[in-house]
Symmetry: C2
């Protein structure tokens, strides 16, 4: 391999990393905006979030094209290969985070605006947590830093705890106020979407750790999945 | 490339296809079993489904190892490359279908067995539909048949229709019978899991179509996502 092709392969890896960073930025801001608009019942910004998701999907397809081209033309190996394959996996997780934010925005449109928004505070704090996990795992990805990837990975339990208490509180509301049944059901799914965002941040952390170290932390991961209404045997 | 390496590359592609077929068979049977056990409140088979999911996860990691090895050592191109990268994507969808089946099984364990199971028939018919989609898309994958992949892809709307009417019916129950609130909430999430299974079958159909034809049907796909309580503007 000549000096030139080596250099230009590095450039292509950077372009791939740029696409991932751009996707990540869009997914993170869509998520933050979706939480704000569902708690404020802001239909206008909900429409914007829904419209902007197409951009994330387009970037995911671009990442996939780049990855297939790099694999075909460059035959990367070792960490380069892990980075190219990892970029494909991360792009799929970011695309799902974008979908989940879009789904939260869609629920804003069908929420009954006459009802008071229940549990806004708990929803906002769970939202802030998931946004920070996405933000931190994107930093870890940009730096290829396995230690900060691991820190994000360890924090998924916090998300599950928020999720458990929020679903419990929503179910209590549903029992007390039958009028709020529809709103609370939508918010149950919003909470579930945020719990899924935490899982995708965890997936990305695992990929970043594998790219950086070549070692799989997936096997070490507790595979239990959060269930709403978690009291009783899990 | 010698005749020998060509032949053994074909063999390696077959081994990859075998892993995908094995994963697919396990995911399909876990899904079918999870629907049966949630409708019959069968905690014993729920425990088995939960235990068996580790096998699907292990196969997914094996597929990933095979894919990375094939890419590194064989530098496939054209359809071979699409098939290797596609196998990785399909394995991720099948792993998620296994997780969703496991999650349905876990809900069986926390359902209140004293309550009558509401809407068992509607749940079973939605379950049968999603199992048949998974079954058919695995056939399409084994045959690399873009036409049957497209047929599966077109049928995702059926799943969304079942999902919409089932969630509507569950919400009606929740309003009528506050005692059934917890059970109905679990069944709402079971319905959501089945709707997600339909999305993963659709993803696999898209991958199969791309492997077989090199053409992307993703762009043509209507990107609207099903929302529970779907009346009102989506």
């Amino acid at each position: 391999m000549t000096e030139h092709t080596v250099r230009s392969f590095a450039v292509e890896l950077d372009l791939l990393a740029d696409d991932i960073a751009r996707m990540g930025g869009l997914a993170e801001s869509a998520l933050a905006a979706s939480i704000e608009c569902v708690t404020r019942r802001d239909s206008e910004s909900a429409q914007e979030i829904i419209a902007r998701d197409a951009k994330i999907d387009a970037l995911q397809r671009e990442v996939e094209r780049r990855v297939v081209l790099l694999l075909a033309l460059r035959q990367p190996f070792a960490q380069d290969l892990r980075q190219v394959v990892g970029a494909l996996k991360v792009s799929l997780d970011l695309e799902r985070i974008g979908d989940l934010a879009k789904n939260i925005a869609k629920r804003t449109l069908v929420l009954n605006t006459d009802e008071p928004a229940p549990l806004t505070g708990a929803l906002e704090s769970m939202g802030r947590l998931t946004v920070s996990l996405v933000h931190d795992v994107l930093d870890a990805s940009a730096q290829l830093d396995p230690a900060s990837a691991m820190r994000v990975w360890m924090r998924d339990d916090e998300v599950d705890q928020h999720y458990d208490s929020l679903t419990r509180a929503l179910l209590a509301q549903m029992a007390d106020k039958p009028d709020a049944l529809t709103s609370c059901t939508h918010l149950l799914f919003v909470a579930k979407n945020l719990e899924r965002v935490g899982d995708h941040a965890t997936n990305i952390a695992e990929v970043v750790h594998f790219i950086a170290t070549g070692e799989d932390i997936m096997a070490a991961r507790p595979k239990t999945e959060a269930i709403p209404i978690p009291e009783r045997n899990e």
